[in-house]
């Protein structure tokens, strides 16, 4: 069964450092998303990406965040200068028609 793959599964970084979270969406899907989940809390939308551009973003997705689809398969989320409050699980999702499928997440810990 096709699945969304995320790497790394866990990333520890120092405050102020840049991190890149990587995702391989399901191959024939056209819509890609990043969500964030702070421990024990709800899943929060960050950004959606369609046709090689951002289609929608939340107020959380400020200038320190960027997304890219550098090739036909990978979809990345970059956080330029990490803050302690960026510590969370980051989930990538992809969607074909209706159903959105999520990856297993990257646990980002900023110290």
């Amino acid at each position: 069964e096709p699945e969304v793959t995320q790497t790394p599964s866990h990333q520890v970084t120092q405050m102020g450092q840049e991190v890149i979270l990587r995702c391989v969406p399901i191959s024939n899907h056209l819509y890609f998303y990043w969500y964030r989940q702070i421990l024990g809390q709800k899943v929060e939308f960050l950004v959606s990406f369609y046709n090689n551009e951002i289609s929608e973003k939340s107020e959380i997705f400020d200038d320190q965040f960027s997304v890219e689809r550098p090739d036909g398969s990978n979809f990345t989320l970059k956080i330029r200068s990490t803050k302690l409050e960026d510590s969370a699980m980051y989930f990538c999702a992809s969607r074909g028609h209706l159903e959105a499928f999520f990856g297993q997440g990257t646990r980002l810990t900023v110290v």
């Binding site: 969304v4 995320q6 819509y31 998303y33 809390q41 709800k42 899943v43 929060e44 939308f45 959606s48 369609y50 289609s55 929608e56 939340s58 989930f91 209706l98 159903e99 959105a100 499928f101 999520f102 990856g103 297993q104 997440g105 646990r107």
Partner: protein, 111 residues
């Protein structure tokens, strides 16, 4: 994004019992309502979804009931099992907009 309100926050059910989780949405443009199941340290997994043209959808032990006039929908888990213990999220969206999630319900099924 408008809210999706989910209750209860946590739920304890005896094995074999019925688990019921409720959600209410605000955005009348929403036309797709999925439920996701999340185990600790994992990504949300699509469980079952409904569109507002039907009032009920059943898949195995899982049933969604949908009340369009009340803008409410609920998940019923029949014959609940310890393996169903997880966090459940309802969500809603319209067209290509991102999913808006409820805050989640932590279900514990005890023997």
């Amino acid at each position: 994004q408008q809210q999706v309100k989910q209750s209860p926050q946590s739920l304890i059910v005896q094995k074999g019992g019925i688990s019921i989780i409720n959600c209410a949405y605000e955005n009348t443009a929403f036309d797709y309502f999925p439920w996701y199941q999340q185990f600790p340290g994992k990504g949300p997994a699509l469980l079952i979804a409904i569109r507002p043209d039907v009032s009920e959808k059943k898949e195995g032990r899982f049933t969604i009931s949908f009340n369009k006039s009340a803008k409410q929908f609920s998940l019923h888990i029949m014959d609940s099992q310890p393996g169903d213990s997880a966090t459940y999220f309802c969500a809603g969206n319209s067209g290509n907009t991102p999913l808006v999630f409820g805050k989640g319900t932590r279900l514990s099924v005890i023997a």
